[in-house]
């Protein structure tokens, strides 16, 4: 080697080699320095700041996913389930896993019926979807058979799955709608409310919320407490595995006072007729039955009602969406005569001996207008008993005018008229118990004596809901005791049932307890005396009942016109009403019935009330 170098003498090879070697050493030193810088920087990242970066790495990968609690179930008083959480099969597709979507949809369409609408909706949802690994529902509420067909062919349908989802189901359908209500998808408004009430966190993972009835009123109890699952996710947010879990607390089960079989009887009794029935347990005003006809299927709303179906409900002339029992404002008509009679006795304006002559009409001095009795030839001499039994109008025209509106108003308020009853659903109106102030506020008009005359027979400005009528009847039957009517009987706990105590309001106090007896005896006469307006309906009952019929004018009849059922438009016919309770001396059950546009209360509503009472006494033997 050295020989070779010496041969080329022009260049100093040794010097060059030395120079090169020195430069190599410098270069290697640089490599070492730079390598050390890398190593030290790595040390800073991996050792000194390790904790910090570990936290950030965990922040990347760990996500907390909510687990929705199971909603509490709802039972009737005998443990029959009224609202349950059922598995519904839905066909879902994970877009990320599908290579050829049109082909998959075509294959599915060969197996089960798929409307073009469904496919359009599905395609729209897929386009709008941000996370492609999340399933999109193609068809919900599959039949068992459809689910089975898809399951059998699963191996050919990559990306398509049958999912069982828990959805609320109301097995009795329209029978319970107005009482229990329904749940439906949480909308923007619900979300805003939850946000405002600070409940958003608890609804992470919850799809549905109570929209109506019990489901809405007891939402908080029924919903339960959300659980959490800590999962590891990838950069697209897809869960990879579960790290820890905090199970949700399911909502509490509710037991209602409702008796679903009695509810069926109520529906049957009304048949095709529009109307409402309320049956209360007279002891605490627990609601045994509350039915508004026509009703509708709440299950439609749970799965998202189509706009076509919703419009149909909304535009239906019979207005099924209105809960007639609590939202229907009806003139109470003669059903309030017992209350006015009681006020008459209390005020001393009448006694049991007081008699007036009924010529078939009533006139105030100097005014020509004749206020007619329903019996155009008159009832003759009438006392308080006969006035209630036969529902004499003239007696009450006279009494009302003598009592004056102020005293009627404040007395009727004590019976719950013009006030919310306190039922545990939010869909309730207070209806109207008119007064001077009310009329002035509403119409800027003074109260006229003529206004008071119609009030005497529960017409004019006076309106009440069927539930208010039932409540007022219950207060009468219980001689002043006033409990709020309630649907909820008890909540279920692990150890048993926790009864919900009845809430009482200020009782109606009278100067003479005997006056209660007078009115109740008169009401007994309504159904027990052959002349009573409810006698025919209650002929042959095995229990001592009391009641009062009512027939409410829907339109006013001109002075010299006769009310002729056949000549009037069906919608303008009278509403039939009946309120009653039984047994007379120890009331157990209170019934209120309203049937729209069918005519007289004694003929049409009283038989329905009797049906309800008969059912009660046949099925609640412990009540005797």
């Amino acid at each position: 080697m050295l020989n070779w170098r010496r041969r080329v003498a022009i260049r100093d090879h040794l010097a060059e080699a030395n120079l090169f070697a020195r430069r190599v050493i410098v270069a290697l030193a640089m490599v070492v320095v730079l390598g050390t810088i890398l190593a030290l920087n790595m040390r800073t990242l991996q050792v000194d700041k390790h904790q910090d970066y570990q936290t950030r790495a965990d922040g990347n990968r760990i996500k907390v996913l909510p687990i929705a609690p199971n909603r509490g179930l709802i039972y009737d008083r005998f443990g029959r389930i009224l609202a349950e959480n059922s598995s519904f099969y839905s066909l879902e597709i994970v877009p990320e896993q599908v290579q050829d979507m049109p082909a998959l949809l075509a294959a599915l369409a060969k197996l089960i019926p798929l409307d073009a609408d469904l496919i359009d909706d599905f395609n729209k949802n897929v386009r709008q979807q941000r996370r492609k690994f999340k399933p999109v529902i193609l068809k919900s509420r599959l039949t068992e058979e459809e689910a089975a067909i898809i399951a059998v062919n699963q191996h050919k349908l990559h990306g398509a799955y049958i999912e069982a989802r828990l959805k609320r189901h109301y097995p009795y359908g329209e029978l319970t709608t107005h009482a229990i209500g329904y749940v439906a998808k949480i909308n923007q408004k619900d979300a805003n409310n939850l946000e405002m009430e600070g409940k958003s966190a608890n609804y992470q993972g919850t799809d549905d919320i109570g929209k109506l009835g019990i489901e809405r009123y007891y939402e908080e109890i029924l919903h339960g407490q959300v659980g959490y699952q800590e999962v590891e996710v990838n950069n697209r947010g897809r869960p990879i595995r579960t790290l820890s879990e905090q199970p949700p607390t399911p909502g509490q089960d509710l037991v209602l006072n409702l008796d679903i079989e009695m509810q069926k009887v109520a529906k049957q009794a009304l048949g095709e007729r529009r109307g409402a029935i309320v049956v209360l347990d007279a002891k605490d005003n627990g609601i045994l039955s509350i039915y508004s006809n026509p009703s509708y299927d709440p299950n439609l709303f749970v799965h998202g009602i189509s706009s076509k179906n919703y419009k149909a409900l909304l535009n239906n002339r019979d207005r099924p969406l209105i809960n007639r029992t609590t939202q229907g404002r009806y003139p109470p008509a003669s059903t309030i005569k017992p209350h006015i009679g009681l006020l008459g006795l209390e005020s001393g304006l009448i006694t049991t001996k007081t008699r007036i002559w009924d010529p078939g009409y009533y006139q105030i001095k100097d005014i020509e207008h004749k206020y007619r009795d329903w019996k155009s030839w008159g009832h003759g001499w009438v006392d308080i008993y006969k006035a209630i039994e036969e529902s004499c109008d003239v007696y009450y025209y006279d009494l009302a005018v003598r009592l004056g509106m102020d005293s009627i108003s404040s007395f009727m308020n004590q019976f719950g008229f013009g006030e919310l009853t306190g039922i545990d659903i939010h869909e309730e109106t207070s209806a109207t118990m008119p007064s001077r102030e009310w009329k002035y506020g509403r119409f800027r008009q003074p109260w006229y004596a003529g206004d008071t005359i119609s009030i005497g027979i529960g017409q004019g400005y006076w309106t009440a809901t069927p539930l208010q009528l039932a409540l007022a009847t219950s207060i009468l039957a219980n001689e002043g005791e006033h409990f709020e009517p309630k649907l909820l009987k008890s909540t279920k706990t692990q150890t048993g049932e926790l009864p919900v105590p009845a809430i009482d309001r200020k009782p109606v106090e009278v100067d003479s307890e005997r006056n209660w007896q007078v009115i109740k005896t008169a009401m007994e006469g309504v159904v027990s005396k052959p002349t009573g307006s409810g006698f025919r309906a209650y002929d042959g009952v095995t229990y001592p009942a009391a009641g009062k019929t009512g027939t409410a004018q829907v339109i006013s009849i001109a002075q010299d016109e006769e009310y002729d059922e056949d000549e009037i438009d069906e919608r303008h016919r009278d509403n039939a009403l009946f309120v009653g309770f039984a047994p007379v001396d120890d009331p157990k059950v209170v019934v209120a019935v309203i049937i729209e546009n069918v005519g007289g209360g004694g003929k049409n509503a009283a038989p329905v009330a009797r049906t309800m009472m008969d059912y009660y006494f046949a099925h609640y033997p412990e009540s005797f």
């Binding site: 090169f20 430069r23 190599v24 991996q46 050792v47 970066y53």
Partner: protein
Amino acid sequence: MNAQVGQQTDIFRKLHIDAPLLLGLLVLMVAGLFIIYSASGQDSALITRQITRLSIAVGVMIVVAQIPPNFYLRWAPPLFIAGCLLLIAVLLFGSMGKGAQRWLDIGVTKIQPSEMMKLAVPIMIAWFIARKPLPPTIGHSVAGFALIMFPTMLIAKQPDLGTSLLIASSGLFVLFLAGLSWRVIGGFTIAGLITAPILWYFYMRDYQKQRVLTFLDPETDPLGAGYHIIQSKIAIGSGGMWGKGWLKGTQSQLEFLPERHTDFIFAVFAEEFGWVGVLLLLAIYFYIIARGMIIAIRAPDAFTKLLAGSITLTFFVYVFVNIGMVSGILPVVGVPLPLVSYGGTSMVTIMAGFGIIMAIGTHRRFLRDN
């Protein structure tokens, strides 16, 4: 030395293979396969492809090692001129890929002339500098510098900053190893420090400034340009001293880390094997570089010394720039972690470079006869 080892050394010598260097390279390649397997989410197809590429690269290295170094001596200028012409052609007719013009479609296949220049430039500069006695004169150095800058600018214009940086380094290393005066080096450094602010204020466009700013503080743009580097630092930092274990890096397995099996594979390695693993990896690289420098020192003449030294140091530039970028102390430029990152072209070039080094280390007899 016992007989058997002597015999083995003899076989390698006949094949023109430097056994210690080959060992280092193979260790790196195998380590690379394991990391790619982890980084790709256990994709065996990817591993198969990488093994094919590695085999081709090793084959190329063996073939190149058979070529006596004075072949390059003879062909340096034509190779360089041809390379420059191809680069010009790329700028004129090249096809686009990843937002840059790098490929030249010659009908049968596409070629990437900048890869060829990674070797053509050090060969050319080594030839040019070695023609005169070392150290080079100022004039000679300036001429050599011009030769370096011409292809560098052409590649920077594509734009391919990573490659132009590597090519400029390979040429400058030749000048440095040839004994370029420290005064000149110091002068250029000072000139560079003065030019930088001028460039910043007068020549750089806003998006370029933005890139520099993002590099300096990636957290200002966590979802945009800063995302890569932030996720990479999280991966590295969360690895800790001992790492999370092979296939257990959350940042890589859950795909938070971008470019996992290519440019940012070092972050995967650091996450799964920790600081201890990083030191080990750096040691392997240092071993290869040291071996390359030993071959350079032992090389018989100025041309081969300069060429071997330059190729070796350029290899270090790959390592430094890649790790520096992934760990956030250098800006993000597209330079792979040599022999570990998944990918073909640059690996073949690197292995061809090691082929040249091996040729230099094993072809002395031929040179002596010359």
